[in-house]
Symmetry: none
Subunit: 407 residues, 2 copies
């Protein structure tokens, strides 16, 4: 019997309130350049400290040992979906990041403009990183020409510099396809093919993409340097059991950036639009408190400054979060969790594989007697180190939503 089925069988309907606060990329490592302290250790966090004294702590492994998760797997794991089982294509993630509305079954491709020579060979895979405005103009030209291919609707949206996304909507299509990208310069753009050659939906999708190139390339023929384009990660939005059915919790996402709203939407959470700062996010949570059983609140800046390798700004972001925390604590849900989707150590300047500290407060969490919420203390906490996909089950248990197993 699958463990997921066991959990489902034990889950009871109960008017509970669960709150998951994600400090994106909050986890870090202690290095000599920063006095062997992590940003969580260096930050002044009186409110978080007070909460820590009444909470349990532990460490999360987002995917598995040594694996650095993207934002997709990092969040799906926190939502309780095994990120190895539910893999979301790059096209879908990029579409979500641009705020495109995806429906189940939509096929999305990550695309970018490139430069082709007279023979059709790729001479620059990024078309000299054209300005975003040029990208927008070229996307409009493509959109004007390609609204449908047969019975398939086509949506095109510009990203930054040379990047854009194409979404295909209609019956009888799915991914994944091979890439329309030689992955190196000096070669022609390869034709896409079904990853599973016998799958008729992938066959249809490959024809649609072939047609997209046939119509689209002539549109750009006179442009310089962006007279061509490539497509990668062509896949459909995978079927995901809805969050509400799975956990019997009506869920809302209070996020600022489109990517995280999109990831929440993938599992059926409602997006709460409007708030721009963490204080506004918390205020909105308080306002919506009675309307949902589960809140996902996303804070981006810990990750952003980790990616920049900017230790002081990551510290400040944590302090800014701490200053807003009393607003969040205005309501006392059954379970409050503060954690990250992955680590983004300043020394790495990117996502990493390092385990992520987690804090859990409930009437049944007990107190670990720890004075602060840091990596070093969290690894001595009562929750131990465990795969992030189990976190939501521990939250449900703390909300008394899981029946006894066996007599």
């Amino acid at each position: 019997m699958q463990l997921d089925e066991v959990y489902s069988g034990l889950t009871v309907d109960r008017p509970a309130k669960l709150v998951l606060v994600v400090l994106d990329g909050v986890g870090d490592i202690a290095v000599a350049a920063h006095d062997n302290r992590t940003p969580l250790e260096a930050a002044k966090t009186p409110n978080l400290d007070a909460l820590a004294r009444q909470s349990a702590q532990g460490m999360l492994i987002p995917v598995s040992y040594g694996i650095t998760p993207g934002s997709g797997p990092g969040h799906l794991a926190l939502f309780g979906y095994d990120p190895l089982q539910y893999q979301v294509g790059r096209g879908v993630i990029e579409a979500l990041g641009l705020g495109m509305e995806l429906r189940p079954g939509d096929v999305a491709a990550r695309a970018n403009f490139c430069t082709l020579d007279a023979k059709g060979l790729v001479t620059d895979r990024r078309a000299g990183r054209i300005p975003t405005e040029t990208c927008q103009r070229l996307c409009e030209m493509l959109s004007a020409k390609i609204k449908r291919i047969g019975d398939i609707e086509v949506s095109i949206k510009a990203g930054k510099e040379h990047r854009f996304v194409v979404v295909f909507r209609g019956d009888g299509i799915e991914g994944p396809l091979t890439d329309a990208d030689p992955n190196t310069e000096g070669l022609a753009i390869p034709q896409v093919k079904p990853r599973h050659p016998d799958n008729p939906r992938q066959q249809k999708m490959a024809k649609v993409v072939g047609e997209f190139f046939k119509i689209g390339l002539p549109v750009l023929a006179k442009e310089r340097p962006a007279n061509g384009f490539l497509m990668r990660g062509i896949a459909h939005q995978p079927h995901m059991p809805s969050f509400e059915e799975r956990y019997r919790l009506r869920a809302a996402a209070v996020a600022v950036y489109p990517m995280y709203k999109g990831l929440a939407q993938l599992v059926g959470m409602r997006k709460i639009e409007g708030p721009q700062t963490i204080s506004e996010q918390f205020e909105r949570y308080i306002a919506e408190y009675d309307n949902y059983g589960f809140f996902f609140i996303h804070f981006k800046y810990t990750d952003k400054f980790g990616e920049d390798g900017n230790f002081q700004s990551k510290v400040k972001a944590i302090e800014e979060f701490d200053a807003a925390l009393p607003i969040l604590l205005g309501k006392r849900p059954d379970v409050l969790v503060i954690t990250g989707d992955h680590s983004t150590p300043c020394a790495v300047k990117g996502h990493s594989w390092h385990p992520v500290p987690v804090l859990l407060h409930s009437a049944y969490s007990g107190s670990d007697g720890l004075d602060r919420f840091t990596e070093r203390l969290a690894r001595t906490g009562s929750l131990g180190m465990f795969e992030a996909k189990y976190l939501i089950r521990i939250m449900q248990a703390n909300a008394r939503m899981l029946d006894k197993f066996g007599a």
Copy 2:
């Protein structure tokens, strides 16, 4: 999707240097007889202490909870091969321990001389533990008589006391077979049978072993007390994906004892012959630094003195290792790991199931702020407690050899 496939898909080619130092059986337990200190705690290790201050630590579970690994599973796990999936027969391990060169497909059997009565019943399964010299003489007699059986080459090599190994090489054979050993006295030697009766390669192998007994037993008929022999663990060298393909690292083994060279060779590492002391091993590593991406350096004496229950000598072995450590640290690889293949507590006088401390140093390990490398401190470290088979993936991550998973 299998996790191994995920890791393979994420692995990138990169000119990296990874070093795995195995202090065989280093893990121990604190008992009152030794002031509740382990050998790692009792030893004076200034060099290791300095390294510990800049490193991450954790605990390894070699196979699973409560399982005491032999040297084979202990090392295969450190090499990243699931020891439950890749089981190597006792015959193969013994052959490697005697320094016999095995090729993929060779079938090896662990054998020993015994005493038979006039009816052919086993009266002493160890033939009174005959001296090693007698064993050598008897093996030479058998070798002289049995060089081939049909198209199968036969090699025989004496071990200690009553023990020897037989290796069969040729086409169309494989193991495992049942044992030619009644496992108790007063019974006849059973005929070997295929473990899978329908497997024609095992059928052929069973005939070859039957023939070996038919020719071999008369050779010993007049000997006393060793007038017979038994065979166990008859199996072929299993197919193992090569270390180099699996991790994209050209690997070398710097070991003194044949068993560990053999285990490294099973996964395709090159053996570096010559060095006899740990200082010589480290010097040779420095000399070969440019030639390999992965070094496995094996230190035997922590295990040896643990097996003897000799606490003071195990402490001294650790101090001897520490004294040589500055040679190793003459090069700074991307990742340096110091750990054991299992624990060999002095109080157990043998291998044990206890988790094993591990130290990992890299530019991205962070510092756990621990002043020494000991069992007690390692279990508070940032790596947590995990199955040894994942260690190499964490090493690859620290060497930036694993791409991000998902977008």
